[in-house]
C-alpha cells in the first residue's frame, strides 16, 4: 500500500482509538502513541523518498496513486509527494508530536481536545499529500474548522470572539478558493475532460483573461491563511487566545498551508497573472513583514508578540515566493520549515511559562532564567533562531530569501527587499527585549522561586523542536538542494512565461 495513505489512516485510527478511552490519561496516551507512529512514518517516508531519489528515480512526484472517486465529475483521490511536500509532512508530524506532549496537562474534556487536535492534523497531512484540488480543498477545510472548537472551548482571554473571527476569516478565504478552484476546473476543458488534477492542470496554459480573473481569488484565498496584510487580523487574536498546542500547530503548520497553496496552486497554475500582479502583492507582503515586526515591539503579552512576529515571518514567505526566482523561492520553503519549528517552540515555551506564572504579561516577569534554566535556554535558542543568528535555521532561511530577492536588477524589487530586510533589525529589538525582561533581571515575585523546571513531557516536546532547528542551521545544504530540485518545475513554468 502507498505509504502516503498512512498519513490519513493513522490519524483517523487514533481518533477512533481516543473515542474508546475512558479518561484524560487514556486519551493523551492514545494520542501520543498515534502521533509517535505518525512521526515514525514521516521519518521513514523522508528516508525512503531520498533513497529513491538517490537510486535515480525521477519524476516530479513520487508515491503517486490515483483512485477515481466521483466518476462523472472526474474527481479523484490522487496522492503523491515531491521533496517540498515530504519536508512539510515531516515538519507537520514533528509539530503535532511536540504539541501532544505540550498539552499533556489538559484535563478538561481531554478526549474531545485530542480528537479535535488530531482532526486538525489530519487536514494538514491530507492537504500536503493531495494532488487533486478537490481533495486538497476538502482537507484544507477540515483543518480549519476544528480550530473553532479548540480555541472556543480550551482557549483563554476573549476566546469566543477570537475563535469566531478566526473561523469566519479563514472560511471567507476558502470561499474565495472555491471560486478559483472551479475556474481552474472548468477552464481545464481546453485540454480534454475537466479535471482537478494538479499535474494535468500544470500542463495547460490558461488564457490570460481567465488568469487575471482567477489569480486574485486563489492567491488571496490562500494568502489569508498565510496572514497576508491586511487580512492578517485573525492571527494575533486567534493565536493569543488559543491553547498551547493549537497555537503551535496553527502558527507552525497551518499558516504554511497558505504559503504552500499560494506557491503550488495559485502561482504554479496561473503563472502569467502571477507575474502581472505580483507587484500588488509584493507591496502588501512587504507591509506585512515590517508591520508585523513593528507590531510585535509594542506588545506586552508574550503570545501577542509571537503572533505578530508570525505575521512578519509568514509575510516573508509570501514575499519570497513573489520574487519568483529559484533562490528566493528556495528561501521561502526554508522559511516555512524554519518558522514552523521555531514558532512552535516559542508557543510551547510560552504555554509552559504561563502554566507556571499564570500571566503572560512580560512586565510581571523577570529573572526566570535562574529558576527554570531549561525553559530559559530553550527560549533563548528560539529567540536567536528567530532573529536570524547564524548556526540556527532562521539565518539560513532569511539569508537565502534576501540573497534571492536582491538578484532582481530593477529598483522596485530592490527597494522592497531593502525595506523587508529592515525587519531583521526590528526582530532583534523585540526578541532581545523579551529575553531581557523575561529571563534576566530581578525576580518579580517570591513564589516564582518554587517553580519546577521542565517536566519530562515538556522536555520531549522542546527537544524534538530544537534538534531540527540546529540541524538545519548547521547543515542546510541537503534540505536546500532537495527543495531546489522540487522547485524546478514551478520555476520553469513561471519563467517560461516571461
Amino acid at each position: 500500500m502507498n505509504i502516503l495513505n498512512l498519513f490519513v489512516i493513522i490519524p483517523v485510527l487514533t481518533v477512533i482509538g481516543i473515542l474508546f478511552t475512558k479518561d484524560y490519561k487514556g486519551a493523551r496516551v492514545t494520542a501520543a502513541v498515534g502521533m509517535s507512529l505518525q512521526l515514525l512514518t514521516a521519518v521513514i517516508l523522508v528516508l525512503s523518498f531520498f533513497a529513491q531519489r538517490k537510486a535515480g528515480v525521477h519524476g516530479d512526484f513520487l508515491y503517486l496513486s490515483d483512485y477515481t472517486w466521483f466518476k462523472t465529475l472526474n474527481i479523484h483521490y490522487c496522492v503523491g509527494v515531491d521533496s517540498i511536500a515530504v519536508w512539510m509532512l515531516l515538519l507537520a508530524s514533528i509539530v503535532v508530536f511536540a504539541g501532544i506532549f505540550a498539552s499533556w496537562q489538559v484535563e478538561y474534556l481531554a478526549r474531545e481536545f485530542f480528537i479535535s487536535l488530531i482532526l486538525l492534523a489530519t487536514g494538514v497531512f491530507g492537504f500536503f499529500i493531495s494532488l487533486d484540488l478537490f481533495t486538497m480543498f476538502l482537507f484544507y477545510e477540515l483543518a480549519v474548522i476544528p480550530m473553532y472548537l479548540l480555541i472556543g472551548i480550551w482557549g483563554s482571554g476573549p476566546k469566543e470572539y477570537s475563535a469566531m473571527k478566526l473561523t469566519l476569516m479563514l472560511m471567507g478565504g476558502s470561499a474565495l478558493l472555491i471560486v478559483g478552484l472551479l475556474g481552474l476546473y472548468f477552464y481545464s476543458s481546453s485540454a480534454g475532460p475537466v479535471t482537478f488534477n494538479l499535474l494535468q492542470l500544470s500542463k495547460i496554459s490558461f488564457p490570460l483573461a481567465m488568469q487575471r480573473f482567477f489569480f486574485p481569488f486563489l492567491f488571496v484565498g490562500f494568502g489569508i491563511l498565510g496572514a497576508l496584510f491586511p487580512l492578517h487580523t485573525w492571527s494575533p487574536d486567534g493565536h493569543s487566545s488559543a491553547p498551547t498546542a493549537v497555537s503551535m500547530l496553527h502558527a507552525g503548520v497551518l499558516m504554511k498551508l497558505g504559503g504552500y497553496g499560494c506557491m503550488r496552486v495559485a502561482m504554479f497554475l496561473l503563472p502569467d497573472a502571477a507575474h502581472e500582479m505580483s507587484w500588488i502583492f509584493l507591496i502588501l507582503t512587504t507591509i506585512s513583514v515590517v508591520y508585523g515586526a513593528f507590531g510585535a515591539i509594542w506588545q506586552k503579552d508574550l503570545k501577542y508578540i509571537n503572533a505578530y512576529s508570525s505575521v512578519s515571518h509568514c509575510g516573508l514567505v509570501l514575499f519570497a515566493l513573489l520574487m519568483m526566482n529559484k533562490t528566493s523561492m528556495d528561501g521561502a520553503v526554508l522559511q516555512m520549515i524554519s518558522h514552523g519549528l521555531m514558532t512552535a517552540l516559542f508557543f510551547a515555551l510560552i504555554g509552559m511559562i504561563y502554566g507556571r506564572t499564570h500571566t503572560r504579561n512580560i512586565d510581571q516577569m523577570g529573572g526566570l532564567m535562574a529558576v527554570v534554566p531549561f525553559l530559559g535556554v530553550a527560549y533563548v535558542i528560539a529567540g536567536l533562531a528567530s532573529l536570524g543568528l547564524p548556526g540556527l535555521s532562521g539565518f539560513v532561511a532569511e539569508m537565502t530569501i534576501f540573497f534571492g530577492s536582491f538578484q532582481h536588477p530593477d529598483t522596485f524589487h530592490r527597494v522592497a527587499t531593502i525595506i523587508a530586510t529592515s525587519s531583521i533589525v526590528i526582530t532583534a529589538v523585540y526578541i532581545l527585549r523579551v529575553v531581557g525582561k523575561l529571563l534576566l533581571g530581578q525576580l518579580k515575585e517570591k513564589e516564582y522561586l518554587e517553580f519546577p523546571d521542565a517536566k519530562w513531557y515538556e522536555r520531549i516536546s522542546l527537544v524534538v523542536l530544537i534538534v531540527p532547528i540546529a540541524m538545519i542551521g548547521f547543515y542546510p545544504t541537503f534540505l536546500s538542494s532537495t527543495v531546489m530540485d522540487a522547485l524546478n518545475p514551478i520555476v520553469e513554468r513561471l519563467t517560461a512565461m516571461l
Binding site: 465529475l73 477545510e141 473553532y148 472551479l182
Partner: protein, 474 residues
C-alpha cells in the same frame, strides 16, 4: 390499459392503502389502544418506503398525465425516507395526552399530502400538477394547526392556508396564460409552442412566483418563519424538508421539460431570486433566538443554494439538486430530531436554553453539531459535498460571480450555525437542560440521519446513480 400498468402508480396506491387502513383503524380501535396506531402507521409506512426502492418499469398512464421514470421513483424515495424519519421522530409527541384523539389524523394528513407531492412529481400535464399541489397544500394547513389549543399553531394554520390560496391563485393565473398561448395543458404539447412571447413570459413569471411561494424563495417567503414557529416541531420538520423538496423537484422538472427552450427568460429571473433568497435568508437567520424560526430562515437560505443547481439546466444540475435534497433530508431532520427531542422533554426552544447542553446531553449535542456543520457545508460530513457540487453546477454555466455571492453567504451562514455550537459547547449555564434518555424511536431516527450524514458524501456510488438517471434540457 391493463392491471399491470397500475404498477406504475405503485407508491401512490400503497400510500392510499395505508391512509384507508389508518382511517379504518382509527374507527375500530378502542380509546386505550390508540397508541398502537402509531406503531402500525410507522411500520406500514416503513414497508412502503422499502417497497419503493424496488426497481420498476418506466412508463406513463392516462395519456401522459402521469409519468413514472427512474428519476421520479428516486425522488419519491427521497421524500418517503424523509416522512419515515418524521414519523419516527413524532412517536413520543403523538403519545401525549392532548394528541390522544387525533393520532390517526396525523398519519392520514401527512400521507395525503405526500400523495399529492407524488402526483406533482409524476405529473405530465399542468392539471395533474395543480391537483397534486392542492392535495399537498390543504391538509398541510390542518397539520400546522394540529395543536388546536395553541394560539400560535392556529395562527400558523390560517397563515399557511391563506398564503397557499393566494399562491395557488397566482400559479393558476400564470398557467391559464400558458394554456391560452400554447393551446394545451400537456407538457409534451406545450413544449412545441413555447417561445419568446410576451404573453407566455407573463404567464411564466406568474408560474414561477407561484412555485416560489411553495419553495419559500425571497420575496415570497414571508409566511415561512411564522408558520414554522407556530406549527408543532415535527410538522415543521416535515414542511421544511419534504414539502420544500417536492416543490423544488416539481419546479425543476417542469422548467426542464416545458420551459427548456426559454432559458434566456428564466436564467436572469432565477439568478436574482437565488441572490435575494440566500442573502436575505441568511441575514434574517443571524438574529433569531427561537430555534424553529432559526431553522426556518436557514432553510430559506438553503433553498437559494438549490436554485444554483436548477439554473444549470443540464444533467449536472438535476443530479446536484437531487443529491443536495437527499443529503438535506438527513441533515435537516437530524437537527429537527434533536430540537424535537429537547422540546418534548423540557419545552425549551431557544438557543440560549441550549447553553452547556454538551455537559448534560453529549450525544444529542454531537448530533446537532454534525447536522449544523453539514448544513454549513463543512467536511467531512455530507453537506460539504452537496454544496460543493451545487457550486460546480453554477460554475458549469460560468456564473462565477454568483458562486462568489453564494460562498460568501455560506460563510455568513457558518456564523449563525456556530452560534448554536457555541451555546452547546462553550457557553456556561446555571440551569442547563437536565440529562435525559431519548426514547428509542427517536434514537433510531437519529441513527439513520447520522449514518446518512456520514455515508452519503463519501459514497460516490449514490451520486453516480443519481447522475445516471438524471436528465437535462434537450
Amino acid at each position: 390499459m391493463d392491471i399491470a400498468s397500475f404498477n406504475l402508480m405503485r407508491n401512490e396506491l400503497i400510500l392510499v392503502g395505508i391512509v384507508l387502513i389508518m382511517l379504518i383503524g382509527e374507527i375500530f380501535t378502542k380509546s386505550e389502544n390508540k397508541n398502537k396506531l402509531i406503531t402500525l402507521g410507522t411500520i406500514l409506512f416503513g414497508v412502503a418506503t422499502l417497497i419503493n426502492f424496488l426497481p420498476l418499469q418506466e412508463g406513463m398512464l392516462f395519456g401522459g398525465s402521469f409519468q413514472t421514470t427512474r428519476m421520479t421513483m428516486f425522488m419519491k424515495s427521497v421524500l418517503n425516507l424523509g416522512v419515515f424519519i418524521v414519523f419516527l421522530q413524532s412517536n413520543t409527541w403523538l403519545k401525549r395526552e392532548d394528541n390522544h384523539g387525533k393520532i390517526g389524523e396525523f398519519f392520514i394528513l401527512i400521507i395525503s399530502t405526500l400523495i399529492g407531492m407524488n402526483f406533482m412529481i409524476s405529473s405530465g400535464d399542468f392539471l395533474m400538477m395543480y391537483i397534486g399541489l392542492e392535495l399537498a397544500t390543504i391538509p398541510m394547513a390542518a397539520l400546522a394547526a394540529y395543536e388546536k389549543y395553541s394560539e400560535k399553531s392556529a395562527e400558523a394554520g390560517i397563515k399557511l392556508i391563506l398564503t397557499s390560496a393566494l399562491s395557488s391563485g397566482i400559479l393558476l393565473y400564470g398557467l391559464s396564460f400558458i394554456y391560452g398561448t400554447t393551446g394545451s395543458i400537456y407538457f409534451e404539447d406545450c413544449v412545441r409552442n413555447i417561445g419568446i412571447n410576451p404573453m407566455q413570459t407573463f404567464g411564466f413569471v406568474f408560474f414561477v412566483a407561484g412555485m416560489a411561494f411553495k419553495i419559500s424563495l425571497v420575496p415570497f417567503h414571508l409566511w415561512t418563519a411564522d408558520v414554522y414557529e407556530g406549527a408543532p416541531v415535527n410538522v415543521t420538520a416535515y414542511l421544511s424538508v419534504v414539502s420544500k423538496g417536492a416543490a423544488a423537484f416539481t419546479f425543476m422538472i417542469i422548467l426542464y421539460r416545458v420551459f427548456g427552450s426559454i432559458t434566456k427568460v428564466w436564467e436572469p429571473l432565477l439568478y436574482t431570486l437565488a441572490v435575494a433568497t440566500m442573502t436575505i435568508g441568511n441575514l434574517f437567520a443571524l438574529r433569531q433566538n427561537n430555534l424553529k424560526r432559526f431553522m426556518a430562515f436557514s432553510s430559506i437560505a438553503q433553498a437559494g443554494f438549490i436554485l444554483l443547481g436548477i439554473m444549470q439546466g443540464g444533467t449536472l444540475g438535476m443530479t446536484t439538486v437531487v443529491y443536495f435534497m437527499l443529503i438535506y433530508v438527513f441533515t435537516n431532520l437530524a437537527a429537527f430530531g434533536v430540537i424535537s427531542a429537547i422540546s418534548e422533554f423540557s419545552g425549551k426552544e431557544n438557543i440560549t436554553d441550549y447553553n452547556s447542553l454538551y455537559k448534560t446531553n453529549p450525544r444529542l449535542s454531537l448530533i446537532l453539531l454534525l447536522a449544523l456543520f453539514s448544513l454549513a457545508g463543512i467536511p467531512p460530513v455530507a453537506g460539504f459535498f452537496s454544496k460543493f457540487f451545487l457550486f460546480t453546477a453554477a460554475g458549469a454555466k460560468g456564473y462565477y460571480i454568483l458562486i462568489l455571492i453564494a460562498v460568501l453567504n455560506a460563510t455568513i451562514s457558518l456564523y449563525y450555525y456556530l452560534r448554536v455550537v457555541k451555546a452547546m459547547l462553550i457557553d456556561k449555564s446555571d440551569e442547563p437542560i437536565a440529562t435525559f434518555k431519548t426514547p428509542w424511536p427517536m434514537r433510531i431516527s437519529l441513527l439513520i440521519c447520522v449514518a446518512g450524514i456520514f455515508v452519503i458524501g463519501f459514497a460516490s456510488v449514490i451520486y453516480e446513480y443519481i447522475s445516471s438517471i438524471s436528465f437535462g434540457i434537450n
